[in-house]
Symmetry: C2
Subunit: 314 residues, 2 copies
Amino acid sequence: MLGLSISTISRALKNHPDISEKTKQRVNELATALDYEPNTNAIQLRTSKSNLFGLIVPTVSNFFYDSFIASVEEESRKNNYSLMILQSGDDPVIEMQNLKLCRQNRVSGVFTCLSSQTINIDSFTKFKDLEIPVIFFDLVPDMQGINKVCVADVLSATIVANTINIKKKKKVFALFGKPNLSITKKRLEAFKYNIDKKIVTTYLHANNTPEAEQFAMEAIKQNADTIFCMSDEILVGVMKAIQKAQLQIPTDIAVIAISNGFIPKLYYPEITYVETSGYKLGKLAFSSMMACMAGSAFMQELTIESMLVEGGSI
Amino acid sequence: MLGLSISTISRALKNHPDISEKTKQRVNELATALDYEPNTNAIQLRTSKSNLFGLIVPTVSNFFYDSFIASVEEESRKNNYSLMILQSGDDPVIEMQNLKLCRQNRVSGVFTCLSSQTINIDSFTKFKDLEIPVIFFDLVPDMQGINKVCVADVLSATIVANTINIKKKKKVFALFGKPNLSITKKRLEAFKYNIDKKIVTTYLHANNTPEAEQFAMEAIKQNADTIFCMSDEILVGVMKAIQKAQLQIPTDIAVIAISNGFIPKLYYPEITYVETSGYKLGKLAFSSMMACMAGSAFMQELTIESMLVEGGSI
DNA sequence: ATAACTTTCGCAAACGTTTGCGAAACGGTT
DNA sequence: AACCGTTTCGCAAACGTTTGCGAAAGTTAT
């Protein structure tokens, strides 16, 4: 329509110095008039650069992951990347299908959280051969030579233990999650190491909210003065039990948790917790990804700070 | 490597009847040996079919949207579509950028929830010209000739009103959300219409959780016997106020809400609520999308059923 | 052996871009 | 007027697929 060649149009649209200002203006005007939008597929095919990240998560519908996703999406948009979000449903088979999808879409990188069932991570190492960066977050494989971003599990559990020590508690029930997860192991170990040995401590593993509620009822029956919840999932169950028993917090029983922060603020008094922000973790994961993209072959495990947020529950 | 042409390979991989079984097998073996993955960009460019949906939401980090997303993602995967998730941050400008992204990526369809600020929906109607189906959900434009899926706002509010009527309440505070949203208008109108006129009812609009808490404190001060919460956001604030005031539910004060169901189950007694499931809405939105893709030019507003889930709060 | 099918495959164009290279047009200097 | 240097643009190949059409090879019937 302008009597110009395709290449000229392409260059004009991209503000190439070879093209005169007059021409650029004519092109841009027509482009907006027709509201032309470049075809991402063609661009990516031609340049073999995708500007697409994959993000695999057990489920989107989760206090922690949703804020992580929100954070990564936000950064991606700012940096002109798109995000393809995939749920594994905690199923290693679907996880593999999702990885395949990532490859087919020629993603520039993958953020992934292992499903709690995953044992074999060969499908992930394949990405290393293809030079596609993979950032593991939250639930990460227990090995070296990969990029991981995690909340500071050891530090968090240590802070909790110290807080309980300082408050001179006598009888603590510590509720942890699934025992096979590295996140559980780390928190459990650090807690055990730091809790005052004079405190009578009962350790339990709850697989889900109802189990946590059961354990909390048991704790109440045994006159525990403190319950520690390793995660929001557990906290919810514990609070249910405490409300049922009509106990006052913190006078009848104290509660402390490791949490994203949303759930603790739902109650009054608010629950004291050590913060593990999905939002911050997302930012960290993204910057780690950008470092990889920039060529840093430096594999490392990064952690975000965690700090105590005082409610009135202990 | 097999002495075959590209076209034969292509056909063999797609199980085309023209290709002999022997050849197909040889091709497939080599393909898995090399672990070949087709380039989605090339396919989409060639076929101009994208198998990609866009989903625009104010924020991923939200009780309702996260389950909606989880649901749509699940269905998409089952149907061999990918999902590109975009957050608008409730900002119409970003919303427009996201729409542009959808177009550039040649999505096959868009699921979108308006930001509460959006007035001008021209950018959306542009999609209609391009014959790209758009399914609005939750916060939908107030016009005809578009596809919308919504929770049954009128029904939900009616159920709530009737429940309050039956319980013979005397003094109700009804807390609604932002007054400009269609969702608010519909619920308010239906509630007003159905609530027993003998009941003293105070209507308030809370823009966020803290405001809801303020209003709830006011309600308590004025000895209200019932508080209705239009949304989870409001419920959270109300519960905070009630816990602060150390009131017993439902003896001192009754609570009823419209909710996704997660928050009400956090408390004891659990809050009675009318369910508006993001998960179900996602399923409905997806099937509506599939209908559009199949060529149904039939624009309509669909709603999901809602039903009362009894807790012990009223 | 020839003809007439059937099976099996290859050619080449097309999708919408990017980009190295070369060429036309233009301006200025002798 | 011839030459040279810039500025401004076009040609064509390439990215990895799909697909209509035609052709070679194989099979069967005469």
